[in-house]
Symmetry: C2
């Protein structure tokens, strides 16, 4: 499918027009649309799974690996999960119209801060088709029109999902243009979209480093990046070492391919001899490869735990795999310095029973999530109680960390007077 | 003064390094620095006023008009006001470390949202030298290093102000590089600054349309625009008409050159015959030129109030002068449609005694400030109680409306567990 430059602009213009209607739609109407969208996702199962099977066949024919194909693949249970996720968003509180603060001025003016939608959101993502319905649901509930630009490998799936969502919108009396799939795969049309200042209010790129960099370098529209996670677990000398082992193993091995997985373990020198053999064996049981600094290599080797020497670029690296860099540090100062240098401001954890050290760590570390005696894996919208997330922002502007419905809104000042003038 | 490309980058690198120190500086140290900065502004009066006199002489020699020269001019009382404004920021609450929300998850995790600085702020502005000390004070208190890029016409003044501020920082033991003036007037160096992604966390342009557009088109760093205000006063048929006159006159004539001044009056047809002559005479007393739609022209002319026919582009225009466009509208729907088409999302006001209509207006209007029975002029950080403002954002992302200390921060999730894993 080919899209001319003018078509991209007109797509965004229709989204802007739809966003004006959606911005003031009542909660009940948005929720009815979400439930109807879920129903139509289920009803469209035959056509949708057939479209997905074509995408999967094309990916296999193109020699894509098993992990890639698995991300792309839909089946009956995954489709049901998508429908349920859309319904779950209907159950969340509508952020639009929420009064977040209220105060009175000495001259009697009543000032409120009230949430309103951002306008039009452009979501740029890669292969997973469930992002199409997840992002559509979150944007709809928060009153934003959305342009969905998935990967070309999932184009047929995304069109089929989008058709089901459109039917749901129509049934609830909302403009179909609130949710639109942008044809994928064309560099030109993406470039054009990224320049539509005034029509697109926020761009959220989710994907690999190349995609994020391309968007950041070419966008004239506001971008909230969802970038890599180089997360550390720092085991302080006053840690409960059993807890530290549990947290480290969970942070690294429970799902190594995600951005809140740990990539590096920092251990205070004072407890390295006691802790490293223990955690090393637990990690080895989970097939985690360790890459240590010279001290870590010495300690682990003496204990008979397999370890390789870390290369300098193993620190600060997002392995997204069962590999963990390990460094022994002198103290909390050295740990903080290491994290400031190598961390990606995504998620950082400290394990300690010392409240003062924990307070210092949580205060001084710049990261969207700072964990004290908890796994890095908790830096996630669902786990933190946001209900659902459209991604995890690694930019400090607008939103930092998991973005839920509220993070898809802005706030205006509403002032109520009795004729006051300046 | 000439700055090479590498120098601009190294300037930003020193700002980034300084921002790391400042981010965790105690409130007392930041406040001591602010008070010391104010003292040194006063102490530097002779040198500072001499530098300003050179800027003023150069502006006069270049044939700049009186308004321009007045914006540039410093005297003893303006300098004292600058010093007091810096001290006033020391008296404001430190936003850094503020816990804005706290909740507990079913698994026992304690989740907090905690404010942290943005990092490095690049302020781009035009002639007023007081912006240099105001922006420096607000950024310092909110833990952000700042790069100040004022207009070339105020370069000598800004350097002198910056020297005084540096002395204050040094005295309080904070890095001088927390506040740096970037040499003005070079297109090249500005372009380079706008590309320093990862080093500059936020760019705030304040100034004319040309400046804002240049920044928006060339920036790869996040920008929060402080753009024009095309503000409306809508007088609903159920308005208290005396109140409506007071508000209209204040909104237009109290300070016509600012962005929260009204540029257009919308009047319900049902009250046009009663209201327009009254408000027309009051505006004429303040030397306001009226440019009306055909109905407004007819009504005002019959009442003997001077009025010109409005050109189509008088609607949606930011006059920044004693000129007001006037349109008679059928009802609140027509008023909302006019505002959606011609407004700039800055400030919109309704005058009415009807609560339901007011509720609809405040809900449906997209603007950073929506006023019910109050002047548009109240959409201002000081007036709303933010203490001080670095500007008024007209972008919905990150901050919308007056930006105070809080709007110069982000928030991180801090999670406290007892060894929880997923």
């Amino acid at each position: 499918m080919t899209v001319a430059k003018e078509d991209v602009r007109s797509l965004a213009e229709t989204a802007k027009a739809a966003s004006r209607v959606l911005a003031i739609a009542p909660t009940e109407q948005k929720d009815a649309a979400l439930r109807s969208m879920a129903r139509h996702l289920r009803a469209a199962a035959p056509a949708l799974l057939a479209a997905n099977a074509e995408d999967v066949a094309a990916a296999r024919a193109a020699g894509k690996n098993a992990a890639f194909v698995d991300r792309l693949l839909l089946d009956a249970s995954r489709l049901e999960a998508m429908a349920r996720a859309v319904e779950a968003v209907a159950d969340l509180k509508d952020p639009v119209g929420e009064v977040t603060e209220h105060w009175k001025r000495p001259n009697g003016l009543q000032v409120s801060k009230v949430r309103l939608p951002l306008g039009v959101v452009l979501m740029i993502y890669e292969s997973r088709p469930n992002v199409t319905s997840d992002a559509a649901a979150l944007c709809l509930k928060s009153g934003n029109a959305v342009l969905l630009r998935g990967g070309s490998e999932s184009a047929r799936s995304n069109q089929a999902i989008s058709a089901a969502l459109s039917t749901g919108l129509r049934e609830a009396g909302l403009p179909e243009r609130c949710v639109q799939v942008v044809p994928a795969g064309e560099h030109e049309s993406l470039l054009e979209l990224l320049k539509l200042e005034g029509l697109i209010d926020l761009c959220i790129p989710r994907g690999g480093e190349g995609l994020i960099r391309f968007v950041a370098e070419n966008a004239r529209i506001p971008v909230v990046k969802h970038y890599k996670g180089v997360c550390h677990v720092y085991v302080h000398e006053a840690a409960d070492l059993d807890m530290a082992t549990r947290i480290t193993v969970n942070a690294k091995a429970s799902r190594p391919g995600v951005c809140n997985a740990a990539e590096c373990l920092l251990v205070d020198r004072a407890v390295a001899e006691r802790f490293l053999p223990e955690v090393g064996r637990a990690l080895a049981d989970k097939k985690v490869e360790l890459r240590g600094c010279p001290t870590a290599v010495a300690v682990l080797s003496r204990a008979g735990v397999p370890v390789k020497p870390a290369a300098e670029d193993d620190f600060g690296r997002e392995f997204l795999d069962l590999i963990l860099a390990v460094r022994v540090v002198k103290d909390v100062d050295a740990a903080l310095a290491h994290i400031a240098r190598y961390g990606s401001e995504h998620t950082e954890a400290i394990v300690t029973q010392d409240k003062e050290v924990a307070a210092r760590f949580t205060r001084e570390v710049t990261a969207s999530g700072v964990m004290w005696n908890a796994s890095t894996r908790f830096n996630d919208g669902g786990e933190l109680g946001l209900g659902a997330e459209i991604g995890i922002s690694t930019s400090r502007l607008h939103a930092f960390g998991p973005m839920g419905l509220r993070e898809l809104t802005s706030q205006k000042y509403v002032v109520h007077g009795r004729g006051q003038v300046r």
